[in-house]
């Protein structure tokens, strides 16, 4: 027989926050990750050790809007909603088309993908290269945390039990002169968890690199990004010389330490990650 569970689904965000302030709860947005994580055998409901709070119906968490050059994305926007939203930058839309499949995209949320903090989280490399910030709200107010600080390790995030991630903010979303790529390598195009993923971001003025960022997924406990290595490329002109590319690839070779698991091997992951970096650096803009 199914066990009794306490579940809340408030109409308003302030009621939700008050409840979270009173009680440590498991938050469910789209549920596409948590339902698998807590899965039981067929016919037996998933087991949760805490009361549950549903949040994906809250309209405050589904807004997309722009203030100055910052793009605010509601944490409970589904991938499909982002695909259909005029403010979402084209590179993010192209990336979303490679994530999961229509049925998951109709349900899975950006906030959920972040809070799941999987080393292979699909949106994460892109959010890292966009310098995304996470907006957390509690009864005590709001706070902003950089995504690279928010995600601390596999399934570990810097969220207090009374907080909800309400928005993801992409600062200075400039399309002009910005080139963004996202590559995901998996066993199947749809619905596969990445063996390796990569996002590259480059802003150029004429041939000069003004800003360059890259992040690797599924090759470490969190996304791998190195601002020191990125800095070495700022001011260089495109196309980069082979020797310059070799130097950058060699530096990443030292810091990427993937693991063997059921999805892939460390050797494969490292080779592909470095090839993706080389491919990005060799692109003729």
């Amino acid at each position: 027989m199914a066990e009794k569970v306490t579940a809340y689904r408030f109409d308003r965000i302030d009621e939700t926050l008050s409840q979270l302030n009173r009680e440590d709860c498991a938050i469910i947005a789209g549920g596409t990750d948590v339902m698998v994580l807590h899965k039981s055998r067929r016919g037996v409901p998933p087991k949760f050790s805490k009361p549950i709070v549903f949040i994906d119906h809250l309209s405050e968490l589904k807004q997309v809007y722009q203030t100055d050059k910052d793009l605010h994305i509601g944490a409970c926007c589904t991938y499909t909603e982002l695909l259909e939203h005029p403010l979402i930058p084209t590179p993010i839309k192209s990336a979303i088309k490679t994530i999961a499949a229509p049925a998951i995209r109709n349900r899975g949320t950006v906030g959920g993908n972040i809070c799941n903090a999987s080393p292979a989280g699909d949106m994460l490399p892109l959010l890292y290269v966009y310098n995304a910030k996470v907006l957390l709200r509690s009864v005590n107010g709001d706070r902003f945390v950089a995504i690279s600080d928010f995600i601390q390790g596999p399934r570990r995030i810097q969220r207090l039990h009374n907080e909800i991630v309400t928005e993801i903010i992409l600062p200075s979303v400039l399309e002009e002169g910005t080139h963004v790529i996202f590559e995901k390598v998996g066993n199947r195009n749809a619905d596969a968890i990445a063996k390796v993923s990569f996002a590259g971001f480059m802003r150029i003025n004429k041939e000069r690199i003004e800003d360059i960022r890259f992040a690797f997924g599924a090759v470490g406990p969190t996304m791998i990004r190195s601002r020191e290595i990125e800095k070495k490329l700022v001011g260089k002109t495109l196309p980069l010389a082979d020797a310059e590319i070799d130097t950058i690839v060699a530096e990443f070779d030292k810091i990427i330490r993937p693991i063997d698991d059921q999805r892939s091997t460390a050797v494969y992951r490292k080779t592909v990650a470095l090839n993706l970096l080389r491919y990005f650096l060799s692109l003729k803009q």
Partner: protein, 158 residues
């Protein structure tokens, strides 16, 4: 008590909020057209419509669907769209063991109602979340193509 619309009828349940929509519709409402394959959102056999969007019912806790409009394969069987798909799948040989087919039909209907004239790539993308271990997909792609041609003009209708 959770109230929602199931195949056009308002229903309620006192099952716990964590129960999967898949189990509720199969066990409590005895609508067994919706299948369980992987139980992890990777095979699409459990596809249903939630507010007209195709979703995996194995990943949906029923607590989150209060007030929603749920349609299963049984709920679309009387529609003109279903009849065209049914005929097209038969003509193209798109059905072998049949286990994936309710989910495939839901994915096909979702695709065509959004994009009535999909390219082959768009068809493959539309059913990318649905696994079939018999046909090798080509006949299913043909079936959807055929349904797009035969059903010209009917897909945008609700």
């Amino acid at each position: 008590m959770i109230t929602f619309t199931l195949n056009g009828r308002v229903v309620e349940t006192d099952a716990p909020a964590t129960v999967r929509l898949l189990d509720l519709i199969r066990d409590d409402f005895e609508l067994i057209g919706t299948k369980e394959g992987c139980g992890e959102g990777e095979c699409g056999a459990c596809s249903v419509f939630v507010n007209n969007l195709v979703q995996n019912s194995c990943l949906i806790p029923i607590g989150s669907i209060a007030g929603a409009n749920i349609q299963t394969i049984e709920g679309i069987i009387e529609t003109e769209q279903f009849k065209i798909l049914d005929e097209s799948y038969s003509v193209a040989g798109g059905v072998q063991c049949g286990y994936c087919i309710p989910g495939m039909i839901m994915a096909s209907a979702a695709l065509l109602s959004k994009n009535p004239h999909p390219s082959e790539t768009e068809i493959r993308e539309g059913i990318s979340g649905n696994l079939c271990r018999c046909t090798g997909y080509n006949m299913i792609v043909d079936a959807i193509n055929l349904a797009a041609q035969k059903g010209d003009g009917i897909w945008q209708k609700k």
